[in-house]
């Protein structure tokens, strides 16, 4: 071992005086404890890179770090949160008092009721189960169906949930506002509208419309809503960008 390394080993407090270490003088992970091999070595090598990346970003950024006395947690933030919470819980109790639930007739396996429905938040899923009019009959199978109607409905659910789950892998980038990505905003509005129209399909026997018309509504309305959203956002974009750019421009005037 060389002279230098022994000194570094002995010096674990980051400097002689032990007072505040400026960023450049904080010993790196490898200096602090020499790790010769294996996973720990790699870990520290990566952490050094990660730290350096953060430090570079910090150096490059133009805002001043300062001692922050933020909005005090106690009492301000706590009281604000408590008041919001109490109001919200109060609303639940109020609604519960105003609109009590009913208790339907007891279960009777021998009589099927006219209306079978889950709770409202499952209507979309129930509607997808009723997509069987769209289950294509195949000529090869003499008009027989490849999937049973029930399986078709279950698969529709799997497809919808799967598509939503894949979202972060389909839409990447750092855009945060709908105006920045009118297309994705349109997809979102279309999806939200679809969840309502498909819920209408779940209660199709309560809606006095012929089934083909209703199926058209289920799929056309979301598309129309999406197109409207897209158009509106595209139009908004110009003026909106002007305001946003001005904001950033005023903060970082060109050198």
């Amino acid at each position: 071992m060389s002279e230098n390394e022994t000194t570094d080993d002995a010096r674990t407090d980051g400097g002689e005086t032990g007072i505040v270490a400026p960023d450049d003088e904080v010993p790196t992970w490898s200096e602090r404890k020499e790790r010769k091999s294996g996973l720990s070595r790699l870990t520290y090598e990566y952490f050094e890179r990660s730290r350096r990346e953060d430090q570079d970003l910090r150096n490059e950024s133009d805002y001043v770090e300062r001692d922050v006395l933020g909005f005090p947690t106690w009492p301000h933030e706590v009281i604000r949160n408590l008041s919001i919470s109490m109001f919200f819980v109060g609303m639940i109790v109020l609604i519960a008092a105003a609109l009590p639930p009913s208790l339907e007739a007891p279960a009777d396996p021998s009589s099927t009721p006219e209306i079978i429905l889950p709770d409202w938040y499952l209507y979309w899923s129930f509607g997808l189960l009723k997509l069987n009019p769209l289950n294509p009959g195949l000529a090869v199978l003499d008009g027989g169906k490849l999937l049973s109607d029930q399986l078709y409905g279950v698969l529709a659910n799997v497809v919808v949930v799967g598509a939503v789950a894949l979202l972060p892998y389909l839409n990447k980038g750092s855009a945060r506002r709908p105006v920045e990505q009118p297309f994705w905003a349109a997809i979102g509005v279309g999806g939200a509208v679809f969840s309502i129209t498909i819920a209408g399909l779940a209660v199709q026997n309560l809606i006095p419309l012929p089934l083909p018309l209703q199926l058209n509504i289920v799929f056309v309305f979301p598309v129309v809503a999406g197109i409207i959203t897209y158009t509106v956002l595209k139009t908004m974009r110009e003026g909106y960008m002007y305001g946003l750019n001005r904001r950033y421009y005023m903060l970082r005037p060109p050198k």
Partner: protein, 264 residues
């Protein structure tokens, strides 16, 4: 339009330059993956800062930095939806525990002990009517808040890069909440409950390969009865509360670690 992402620190390229054994590369890839998302290095830095007596300073928040709060950001109220759903979950948990004292998950009896116990709760028990009403509405409101929360996350792009894991976790949570609601819906063992259960069994049976097994496991057979009711009860009061509470804690924990995704 969107802010350019810097890619000076291309960790993958760095990994490629190194001659690593499979174990090492898997380890490093996992480490980089986790650190990019959960900033493990930050905690070491915190410890280090404490160690070196560096006074703690907080950076300005995004809103402060870009002076965005002089303009009313009209979506801020929607940022409370996640908190509201948690709150409604707590209300439902407390009222549900109280209801559990009086509910009997038994399909036998006339018409059934389960139905009779709900009837007793609603007609004879002091505050029982209010209790059931609160439990039911808290559940409804939780579902509504959760759906709106999901829309908010979608339209503010909060599911993007370091937060994909939490989006996936959120999808698992919303699905489990719906299962929570479904199992609870079946407990009164009234007509709606029975026939909603019937649809559930049919859905399970329509699934190829695992369908019959799933129907056996979740519904206790292909026709509804005592086995179904007790399974729904155990799912509703034992399995799901633990799983969902743990996942909610993890979900919120990750939000805490990663910070609120403020819109640019």
């Amino acid at each position: 339009m969107s802010l350019e992402k810097r890619d000076d620190f291309d960790h993958n390229a760095w990994l490629k330059t190194k001659d690593l054994t499979p174990i090492e590369s898997v380890f490093l890839t996992t480490l980089v993956f986790l650190d990019r998302r959960l900033r493990i290095v930050d905690y070491l830095e915190l410890l280090e800062n404490a160690y070196y007596k560096v006074n703690l300073q907080m950076p300005k928040s995004h809103t402060e930095q870009y002076d965005l709060d002089n303009k009313f950001w009209y979506w801020y109220p929607l940022y409370s939806l996640g908190f509201f759903s948690t709150l409604a979950y707590i209300v439902a948990a407390v009222s549900g525990a109280l209801l559990g004292f009086y509910y009997a998950p038994t399909a036998a009896g006339d018409p059934s002990a389960a139905y009779n116990s709900i009837e007793m709760i609603m007609t004879e028990l002091q505050f029982g009517f209010a209790l059931r009403s609160i439990h039911r509405w808290a559940a409804q409101i939780m579902m509504a808040a959760v759906f709106l929360h999901m829309l908010r996350v979608y339209f503010t792009g909060s599911y993007k890069e370091p937060r994909e894991l939490n989006w996936l976790l959120g999808i698992i949570l919303i699905s489990l909440s719906m299962v929570f609601g479904y199992t609870g819906y079946l407990l009164p063992w009234n007509q709606l409950a029975f026939w909603a259960g019937q649809i559930g069994v049919e859905m399970a049976l329509a699934t190829p390969i695992v369908g019959e097994w799933a129907a056996q496991l979740l519904f206790g057979g292909f026709t509804l009865g005592q086995a179904t009711l007790i399974r729904m009860y155990i799912l509703h009061v034992f399995v799901l509360p633990f799983v969902v509470t743990a996942l909610i804690a993890l979900h919120i924990g990750i939000v805490w670690v990663q910070g609120i995704a403020e819109p640019h």
